[in-house]
């Protein structure tokens, strides 16, 4: 059976919800935002002297904007590769929680479900939860929007990485200031969450307290511990 037939066969067995067209219409404005996010990541990563192929490969294999942004931010600030991986991976720990929620809504055995769960990002998860409210997330919405946003994220990164070098000297353009500005923009919508504000304040205070005395990575680890501690 061809791959696309196989996928539609799987999806037919899932909970009937909105049509593919309705799902795509709901995802369109988010897809535009994800495309622009991908392009800005591509521009900034190439400006930080990462090889263009590695930038596109990262978007293809990681598919998580805030984690990729965080890893890049560590590199730009002069941190090492291990610290950058650590920072990105810590941000992605929340996918353990979303992974548990979506696993029950996905078709197939454990292996297939673990592969399909790779399509979950903040945006596709949010749409799938709203679609299936109040029950578990809607698996079909997650897969359709996830696949659509994956394509758009990759295309955005590719275009950003190709056209980034045209822009010129990163510091003269203020691209170093784009990182803290971007982190603030990513943080703000999260603050409405349960206990999120105190996690944010705690994380920033601990990071600033540790930064003068510890090597890069330790302030982030301290912030992660505080975030886990204050989350409930």
């Amino acid at each position: 059976m061809p791959a696309h037939r196989h996928l539609s066969y799987l999806m037919a067995g899932m909970r009937a919800g909105r049509s593919t067209r309705e799902i795509l219409q709901a995802a369109a404005p988010i897809a535009l935002a994800v495309f622009v996010f991908g392009a800005s990541f591509g521009v900034l990563a190439v400006a930080a002297h990462l090889p263009a192929w590695s930038v596109v490969l990262m978007s293809a294999l990681v598919f998580a904007g805030s984690a990729q942004f965080a890893a890049l931010g560590v590199i730009v600030a002069g941190g090492g590769v291990l610290t950058a991986i650590f920072a990105g991976a810590l941000l992605n720990l929340r996918f353990i929680a979303t992974g548990i929620a979506v696993a029950r809504s996905l078709p197939g055995g454990r292996l297939l479900r673990s592969l399909l769960a790779q399509l979950s990002i903040d945006e596709s998860y949010a749409l799938s939860v709203r679609a299936g409210a109040p029950g578990p997330p809607d698996g079909r919405t997650l897969l359709v929007t996830g696949a659509c946003l994956y394509a758009v994220w990759l295309a955005g990164t590719l275009i950003g990485a190709l056209f980034g070098p045209v822009l010129g000297d990163p510091k003269r353009l203020g691209l170093d200031a784009a990182f803290p500005a971007g982190f603030v923009a990513l943080l703000w919508p999260l603050l409405s969450g349960h206990h999120a504000a105190r996690c944010a304040v705690g994380g920033a205070v601990v990071a600033l307290a540790l930064a003068p005395f510890t090597p890069p990575g330790i302030p982030l680890a301290g912030a992660a511990v505080v975030g886990l501690w204050l989350a409930r």
Partner: protein, 104 residues
């Protein structure tokens, strides 16, 4: 960054991210307390990343053009401006302050 180092960064982050998204399929009965607590990670880490970006090489807060850039981005984010508007506005403020006032 050299090619092999960039590849290590990509593969390291990719494999850990893969495992985290796959966990739910293999351990669906993980205690919900564990899952709930991970919700605190993103705000704590993003706030820490903002803070660290504003420190200098000695780890102390360093007042430069990134501070007004962050403040403007925060105001725009509070007004629900899209991500790219916050990022471009932050970069523009930094670029203008550097070009016009020769600030760091």
């Amino acid at each position: 960054m050299a090619g092999p180092l960039a590849l290590a960064l990509v593969l390291g982050l990719a494999s850990l991210s893969f495992l985290m998204r796959a966990t739910g399929s293999f351990l669906p009965n993980l205690p919900s307390a564990v899952a709930e607590r991970t919700a605190g990670l993103a705000p704590a880490l993003l706030a820490a990343l903002v803070a660290i970006q504003l420190t200098g090489p000695n780890g102390l807060v360093h007042l430069d053009v990134k501070v007004p850039a962050v403040l403007l981005a925060a105001v725009l984010a509070a007004l629900r401006a899209p991500f790219i508007v916050c990022v471009v506005a932050g970069a523009l403020v930094a670029a203008i302050l550097r070009a016009v006032f020769h600030l760091n």
